[in-house]
Amino acid sequence: MKSTAEILKEIRPEFDFSASNDFLADGMLDSFDMVTLVSALDKNYGISIQGTDIVPENFQNLQTIQALLRKSGAKI
C-alpha cells in the first residue's frame, strides 16, 4: 500500500507537498487533480470516498486528507 504523500507525488511530481499547508491555494492541486487523487485513494485503501466529501477543504493539506480517509473508513 502506498502512502498518501506517495500518491500525491505520482499525480504532481513537480511539487513538494510536505512544504505546503494549502495545496489548492498554492496551485499544487486543481479540481481535476482532486478527482484523480480520489480515484487513486479509493483504489489504494479499498474505500469509496463519498461524492459529497469531494470539496476543496478536504484536500487542503496532508492532515485534512488523512482526516477524510479516516472518515471514509480507510485503515491508516
Binding site: 484523480t36 480515484s39 461524492g51 459529497t52 470539496v55
Partner: protein
Amino acid sequence: MNLLFRRKRISGALVVVPANERSFVADMKNFNFPEARSLKLKEVMGFDKRRVVEPGVCVSDLAVFGLEHLFERGWLKREEIDALIVVTQTPDYFVPGTCCVIHGRLGLKRDTLALNISQACTGFLIGLIQGFMLLDQESIRKVVLVNSDVLSRKVSPQDRNIYPLVGDGCAITVLERDTEDSVIHANVRVDGSRGDALTMPAGGMRLPSTPETAKLQDVGDGNLRAKDHLFMDGAAIFNFVQTEVPPMIEDLLKHAGASTDSVDYFLCHQPNRFMLEKLADKMNIPHAKMPNNVVEHFGNNSGVTIPTVMTFNLGERLLRENFRVCLAGFGAGLTWAGMLLNIGKFDFNTIIDYK
C-alpha cells in the same frame, strides 16, 4: 414534485449519433495542460471517443434523418404522429421553433400538436412527462419525443473543463397508451437560483452575440473560452449531483413503494464515469446496475444520454424482455428528475450513424 401516470408506455427508441468520431487523445493536444495529467483524467473520467457533428449540421438534420429511417422501415408511420415534442437547447433558429422545422421538412399532417421544450440533461424526463400528459387527450394516440443537441458547436476546443466530454446526438422515442394497467412514477425538481453553474452567457436576447462575445479569453487553469461558449462550473455541478440526486431518487422510490433492489437498472444521465460511480456508491447501488459507459463511446450528448444508455446497454433485449428501470436526469437549470417505470417489448430499439 411527485407525479403519477397510468396506462402509458414507451413503445420504441432510436438514437442517432454522428458518424464523425473524435478521440480524447487527439484532442488533448489542444489543451494547455501536460499530456500525462490528461491521460490520468481520461482513465478516471472515462473520456475516450466522442461523436460530434460536422460543421453546419443542426438538430433538425439529425431528427429528420432518424424519423425517415423509422418511416422507411415501417417502424413508425408519418400519419400516426399526433404530437411532436422537440427538446433542445441548440435550436436551428430562434424563430420558427425546431419542432415546426422538422414538421415541415417531413411533411407531417397539419392536425399535429407540435411543441418545443428548452431543457438539456433533464430533457428526456421532462419530455416524457409532457408526452405522457398529452396522451390523456383522446385525440392523441402517439407522441414522438425528439431529444437532440449539437452542443459541440458551442464549446471551446481549448476548454478542458467541457470540450473532452461533449458529444452530439438525437433520440427519437415513441410514446403510446398502454393496454396493460401500468403505473409510472416521476419526481421533478428545479433550482433556478443556481443556473449560472451551467450556462451559455451570450447569444440570447440578454447578451446578444457580438465580435466581442466571440473572443477567446483566458479563464484560468489554462482554459480559453468565449462568452458565446457553453460554461460549466464542474465542481459545482459535481456537488449538486451528489447532494441532490440521491434524495430525489429515494423520494421517488418511497412514493412508489419500491426499493432499490426491485429496480433492474438505474439509467442515468451520463456526465462522466467518475460522477456516476460516486452516485452509485452513495446510494449503495452496484455499479453494474448503473451503466456508465456512454461518455467513453459517444460523449455526453445532453438530453440524449438516457435513451443512449438504455439502447446501447439493453439493445435487442428490449424487443423481447421487460425491465423495471429508474431513469434519472440532472443538469442545466439547475433541474433534476427521476422516473420509475417498466420498459420492454419495444417495436424498435437501436442506434444508427448520421452520415
